[in-house]
C-alpha cells in the first residue's frame, strides 16, 4: 500500500498585500515549499492549484498552468481545483490521490487568493457564489447571513449564547498573536466582539473571518521515498471528503454540518483512530459558529455543547484539544483558496515541533478540516510525523 507524506511547506504572510500580486504570492509560497523540501523543480511530476474565485477577484482563470509557469515547472501537468472555500483542501486531496494511485511519486500543491483587489461588496458577491446563487444570493443572502441562520438555529436548539460564540474569536485572536504569519496581531475581548456591530444577527463583525491575501504550498511525496530524502516527513494518514446540498434550505438540519460528520467518520475509520487520539486541530472557523459546528461534528465534544466546551477553555492552546492554534481563519486570515493548504502547513510545523511559541505539547496526530460554502463540501485530513531515514 502506497502512502503519502508532506516533505516541504511554504506560506506567505497573510494580510492585505497591496504591493504583491496573485502570481507573486503563489510564487513566494511555492518556492519556499520546494526549497524547504530540499528537492529541485525537475523532481516534481504534477501540480494541483486551489483557488476559489480568481476570476471574480482578479479576472484570471486557468491558474493551474499559471502556477506551474510562475514556479518554472512547465511542462508538468497542472490542474486548478475549485471547491469554494475548500479549494485548497481539495487540491491537497487531489495530489494525495494522484500519488496514492501510483501515477506520480512527487507533486506540488498550491493555494492562493488575492481578495483585496476588489471592493467589499464585490468580494461579498464572489464569496456568495459558494452558496446557492439562484435561491440564496439572488434573495440577498450574503455569506455571513447563511452562517447567521445556522447560528440562530444552534442557539435556539441548544441554548448556545452570543458570548460563547465570541470566545471562539477571542481564543483565535490570542493564538494569532503567537503566529508571525497571521493577519491580526491584536488581542480582543468578549466585550470587543459583543460591541463590534451586527453584520447579520446574531453574528457581529468580530464573529467573521476577514478578507485576506495569501498563498500556501506543500510538496507531497510517496512515503517510502519521503523517508529516504527527508529527515522529518509528515504522513497524511487519512484523507476524506463529503458533500451536501448547496442550499441551506435543502438540508435536514441547520444546526449541524452533515458533510463534516461524514468526512470525519470516514477519516477516523481509515486511520483506525478516534477523535480522542487527535492532539490538535485546524478547523474551518470562517465564522465563530463554524468552529462550534466543526468541533461537534468531528466529535471533540457532544452535539450542542460546543459553545460551553469552547467557553470553558477546552480548545485553548493548553486545553484538552487545542483548536486553531495558528489563529484559525479568524486570526490568521482566510485567503479562501489558500486556507486548506495553510492548515496543512500549520499541522506539519506542529508535528515537527517547529511551531515555536504556539507549539502544542507532544503533538503526535493533527487534524485539518476545510469547509466549502455553508457546508456543501468538507475535506478532512489526519496527519502524523514519520521517522525519516536521512
Amino acid at each position: 500500500m502506497r502512502n503519502v507524506s508532506i516533505i516541504g511547506v511554504g506560506c506567505t504572510k497573510f494580510g492585505e498585500h497591496w504591493e504583491k500580486s496573485f502570481r507573486q504570492l503563489i510564487a513566494e509560497a511555492g518556492i519556499e515549499a520546494i526549497l524547504s523540501a530540499g528537492i529541485e523543480g525537475k523532481d516534481i511530476e504534477a501540480l494541483y492549484g486551489g483557488s476559489m474565485a480568481s476570476g471574480r477577484f482578479i479576472g484570471q482563470e486557468h491558474i493551474g498552468a499559471l502556477i506551474a509557469d510562475q514556479l518554472g515547472l512547465n511542462p508538468i501537468p497542472a490542474t486548478r481545483v475549485e471547491n469554494a472555500c475548500a479549494s485548497g483542501g481539495t487540491a491537497l486531496r487531489s495530489g494525495y490521490m494522484a500519488i496514492k494511485s501510483g501515477e506520480y511519486d512527487m507533486v506540488a500543491i498550491g493555494g492562493v487568493e488575492k481578495m483585496t483587489d476588489v471592493g467589499v461588496e464585490d468580494a461579498a458577491i464572489a464569496l456568495g457564489g459558494a452558496g446557492d446563487q439562484e435561491t440564496e444570493l439572488f434573495h440577498g443572502a450574503s455569506f455571513p447571513a447563511l452562517y447567521a441562520l445556522m447560528a440562530r438555529a444552534h442557539m435556539n436548539e441548544f441554548g448556545t449564547t452570543e458570548e460563547q460564540l465570541a470566545t471562539v474569536s477571542v481564543k483565535n485572536h490570542h493564538n494569532a498573536m503567537l503566529n508571525p504569519k497571521a493577519q491580526f496581531h491584536r488581542e480582543i475581548t468578549i466585550e470587543n466582539v459583543m460591541n463590534s456591530g451586527y453584520i447579520a444577527t446574531p453574528l457581529k463583525l468580530l464573529d467573521c473571518s476577514p478578507i485576506t491575501d495569501g498563498a500556501a504550498a506543500v510538496i507531497l511525496c510517496e512515503s517510502e521515498k519521503a523517508r529516504e530524502i527527508c529527515e522529518n516527513p509528515v504522513e497524511i494518514i487519512a484523507s476524506a471528503q463529503a458533500s451536501d446540498t448547496l442550499a441551506l434550505a435543502g438540508r435536514k438540519s441547520l444546526s449541524e454540518i452533515m458533510a463534516t460528520k461524514v468526512a470525519a467518520k470516514n477519516a477516523f475509520e481509515k486511520a483506525k483512530i478516534t477523535a480522542k487520539d487527535v492532539d490538535f486541530a485546524e478547523v474551518h472557523d470562517c465564522f465563530t459558529i463554524a468552529e462550534i459546528l466543526a468541533i461537534e461534528a468531528i466529535g471533540f465534544c457532544e452535539k450542542g455543547k460546543g459553545g460551553k466546551f469552547t467557553a470553558d477553555g477546552n480548545t485553548a492552546l493548553n486545553g484538552e484539544i487545542p483548536v486553531n492554534v495558528s489563529g484559525g481563519l479568524k486570526g490568521k486570515g482566510h485567503p479562501v483558496g489558500a486556507t486548506g493548504i495553510a492548515q496543512a502547513v500549520e499541522a506539519v510545523l506542529q508535528l515537527r515541533g517547529q511551531a515555536e511559541k504556539r507549539q502544542v505539547k507532544d503533538a503526535k496526530i493533527g487534524l485539518t478540516h476545510n469547509v466549502g460554502g455553508s457546508g456543501a463540501t468538507c475535506v478532512l485530513h489526519l496527519l502524523k510525523a514519520l521517522e525519516g531515514k536521512k
Partner: protein, 133 residues
C-alpha cells in the same frame, strides 16, 4: 448574475408562483423542482406541484450589510421557511413588525421586486414572505 434576461425569464414559474415538484413514491415535496428525487432516485415519480403559500420561520437573520445590489436594502431580514408541505426555502421577510419575526412565526408569500443590480438591465421579481397578522 441576477440581471440576466434569460435567467429571469426561465425562473418565472419558480419565482412568481412557487412551482416545485413532488415525489409520489416517497411523498416528498421539492422546491425548487428537482430532476431526480434525492431519496428514491430512479424509483421516484416526480410530478409538478405548486408549493403552499404559507409556512413557518425555522431560522432568521437581520442583515445590516448586504452584497452588491442589496446595499440600499439594509437592514433587511432573511429567513429559512418551512412551507406547509415540509419543503423549505430561503426568502426575505418584509412588511412585518420586527418583534414578530421569530422562530415559529407563521408567514405568507407576497410578490415583490428582488433586485435591479444593472440600471440598464431587467428588474428581477419574485417571492418574499411576510408575517401573517
Amino acid at each position: 448574475m441576477n440581471g440576466s434576461l434569460p435567467l429571469i425569464w426561465r425562473k418565472f414559474g419558480e419565482r412568481y408562483d412557487l412551482d416545485g415538484n413532488f415525489c409520489e413514491t416517497c411523498k416528498t415535496a421539492y422546491f425548487p423542482a428537482r430532476a431526480v428525487c434525492q431519496k428514491c432516485r430512479r424509483k421516484g415519480k416526480l410530478v409538478a406541484q405548486k408549493m403552499p403559500k404559507t409556512g413557518t420561520i425555522i431560522s432568521f437573520t437581520e442583515l445590516s450589510a448586504g452584497p452588491a445590489g442589496f446595499e440600499h436594502e439594509v437592514p433587511y431580514f432573511i429567513a429559512i421557511i418551512e412551507l406547509e408541505n415540509k419543503a423549505r426555502l430561503l426568502s426575505q421577510i418584509v412588511d412585518s413588525e420586527k418583534e414578530k419575526i421569530k422562530i415559529g412565526t407563521k408567514v405568507e408569500k407576497v410578490f415583490r421586486k428582488i433586485s435591479d443590480i444593472d440600471p440598464e438591465g431587467p428588474i428581477a421579481y419574485g417571492y418574499k414572505f411576510k408575517v401573517v397578522d
